[in-house]
């Protein structure tokens, strides 16, 4: 099997599994228990918190453990909304192509009287900083802009966004779920007030994540119950998961530059070779993107059938076509960068990891053109494009 769906989730590394096991079977005490056994677990928890903080140049008390990216996004935005309600500032700025963990929370806030501005991401999948500056009003409480996009991998000008937010005294949250483990992040240098991350995107376990919140940002307790996580997030801490996440996080940053160089070389080979397919186009800026992300559209074909045929060849990929999502509309991300519906249906996303090999990439380079050519040969849309009845868009 050739696994190129690492933006969806990743393999938990053997090392991570190994360090987690003792926290299930040996140090299994509740971190809230007063006995020595519990205190040992508590010590480990606080050690983990410190180690996460160190990776992002944050303070331990600014790190909150959560159940993953979705929960962190929810809590960050809903906490900012509470601040907004108190200060009578009910305007939030985001982008058109955020993850649904952000967009659907904002939809709920809209029903509660918030105004949301959705910044354009242009054809390259990157916002213009002037657009952000123009959108900020005295009522703006929060800017929530993702670090790197999950479908097309484009990276936003985070440092400039942080600067603008600071100038206007607006909170800045970034969904860094796709960026953590792939990009260096220093929350002070980048001016980030809140950041979401999820362990399963960087070879850690599923169902565990972090919300970083700067010490002056009051979080609302959103999962209500006990007093864990400094009264901000109730529920017995998932210590084995947290231990695994920290091991995965440190491993990801240990050899970041060499890993990224290797991935970029393979990813660029995919772009170079698969761009030879006629009437194809790269989605998003080719340079300002995660080294692990490949995304292209192929005209005249539909994504789900492409994925199924690649799967028959042992290749795990993904697509933003409507028929893969269960809804009738193709991916909002591809529409946001200006792809017409009929082109957005024919998208292919390949996302690499440290386990990806050159041999696998070569096999994909052989398989994709074959499958695209076959699907075009049975496609009435391609037939019309070739006969000139329909105009090529890409």
């Amino acid at each position: 099997m050739i696994y190129l769906d690492n933006a969806s989730t990743t393999k938990v590394s053997d090392k991570v599994v190994e360090v987690m096991v003792p926290y299930y079977s040996e140090v299994y005490a509740n971190c809230s228990s007063l006995h020595e056994f519990g205190q040992k677990a508590k010590e480990k928890l606080e050690d983990c918190r410190q180690r996460v903080a160190r990776v992002f140049n944050a303070k331990s008390r600014e790190i909150y453990f959560t159940s993953g990216g979705t929960e962190s996004d929810n809590q960050a935005i809903l906490s900012a909304a509470q601040i907004g309600i108190r200060q009578e500032k009910k305007h939030i700025i985001t982008t058109k192509f955020e993850h649904h963990a952000v967009l659907n929370v904002l939809n709920k806030l809209k029903q509660q009287g918030f105004t949301i501005t959705y910044l354009d991401v242009n054809s390259n999948g990157i916002i213009k900083i002037e657009d952000l500056e123009k959108a900020i009003t005295p009522q703006t409480v929060l800017v929530s802009i993702m670090f790197a996009n999950n479908e097309i991998g484009t990276i936003q000008p985070i440092k400039e966004i942080g600067r603008v937010c600071k100038e206007h005294k607006v909170l800045f949250h970034t969904d860094a779920v796709q960026a953590v483990g792939n990009e260096k992040i220093d929350v002070d240098e980048l001016g980030i007030d809140m950041l979401s991350l999820s362990a399963h995107k960087f070879h850690g376990p599923k169902g565990v994540g972090v919300l970083y919140a700067r010490s002056n940002v009051p979080l609302t307790q959103f999962i209500v119950g006990g007093s864990q996580e400094n009264n901000r997030r109730a529920g017995t801490e998932n210590l084995p998961g947290i231990v695994g996440m920290v091991a995965a996080l440190e491993a990801a940053y240990k050899d970041l530059d060499t890993k990224n160089q290797r991935l970029k070389k393979m990813r660029d080979k995919l772009f170079d070779e698969l761009s030879k397919i006629p009437h194809s186009a790269i989605n998003g800026d080719r340079e300002h993107r995660l080294c692990s992300n490949f995304s292209m559209c192929f005209e005249g074909i539909e994504g789900e059938s492409l994925l199924l045929l690649l799967s028959d060849k042992g290749i795990c990929a993904s697509s933003g076509s409507a028929c893969t999502s269960g809804s009738l509309a193709p991916s909002h991300v591809l529409l946001s960068i200006g792809r017409p519906h009929e082109v957005a249906h024919g998208s292919l996303r390949l996302t690499l990891s440290r386990y990806t090999t050159e041999d696998e990439i070569n096999k994909v380079i052989e398989a994709v053109p074959q499958v695209v050519a076959y699907l075009r040969s049975i496609s009435p849309v391609w037939d019309e494009l070739e006969k000139g009845v329909r105009k090529h868009v890409i």
Binding site: G300, I301, E302, G303, E304, S305, L308, L309, D312, S321, A322, C323, T324, G326, L328, P330, H341, E342, H345, I378, S379, P380, V381, W382, D383
Partner: protein, 136 residues
């Protein structure tokens, strides 16, 4: 699995795929905007569909239902082909996931559109009611 074995078989090895150069009728439904398009070619002799071919732009279920629909009408009299329903196609494929049912409506529509085209080309009178619900 998302799809039944039958669906995957018809998706992987679609029957009657291709074009008929001197077709007696052509029907096409769907649009690229919403994701699925099917085109059907018919060869008709003495009111019998002696050959049928299709081309489809769409997901696995769109291609599989196209294939199955052409199998169900091949060699049949036109009057019988007109009675094809998408439920019959879906049943013949051992079912489809609920959210994929809309993709199967296409096959019934394309067959009907082709038959209507045959009637129109040959000035054969017909009841427009029979073609009222062609999917688009």
């Amino acid at each position: 699995m998302l799809y039944s074995e039958k669906v995957m078989d018809h998706f992987r090895n679609p029957r009657n795929v291709g074009e008929i150069e001197d077709a007696d009728a052509i029907g096409e439904v769907g649009n690229a905007r919403c994701g699925d398009i099917m085109r059907v070619y018919l060869k008709v002799e003495n009111d019998i569909i002696v050959d049928v071919k299709f081309m489809t732009f769409g997901c696995g279920s769109a291609i599989a239902t196209s294939s199955m629909a052409t199998e169900l009408i091949k060699g049949k009299p036109i009057s019988q082909a007109l009675e094809l329903t998408n439920q019959a196609v879906v049943e013949a494929l051992d079912g489809l996931p609920d959210y994929k049912l809309h993709c199967s409506v296409l096959a019934e529509g394309a067959v009907k559109a082709a038959i209507k085209n045959y009637y129109d080309r040959n000035n054969i009178p017909y009841d427009p009611e029979a073609f009222k619900n062609i999917a688009d």
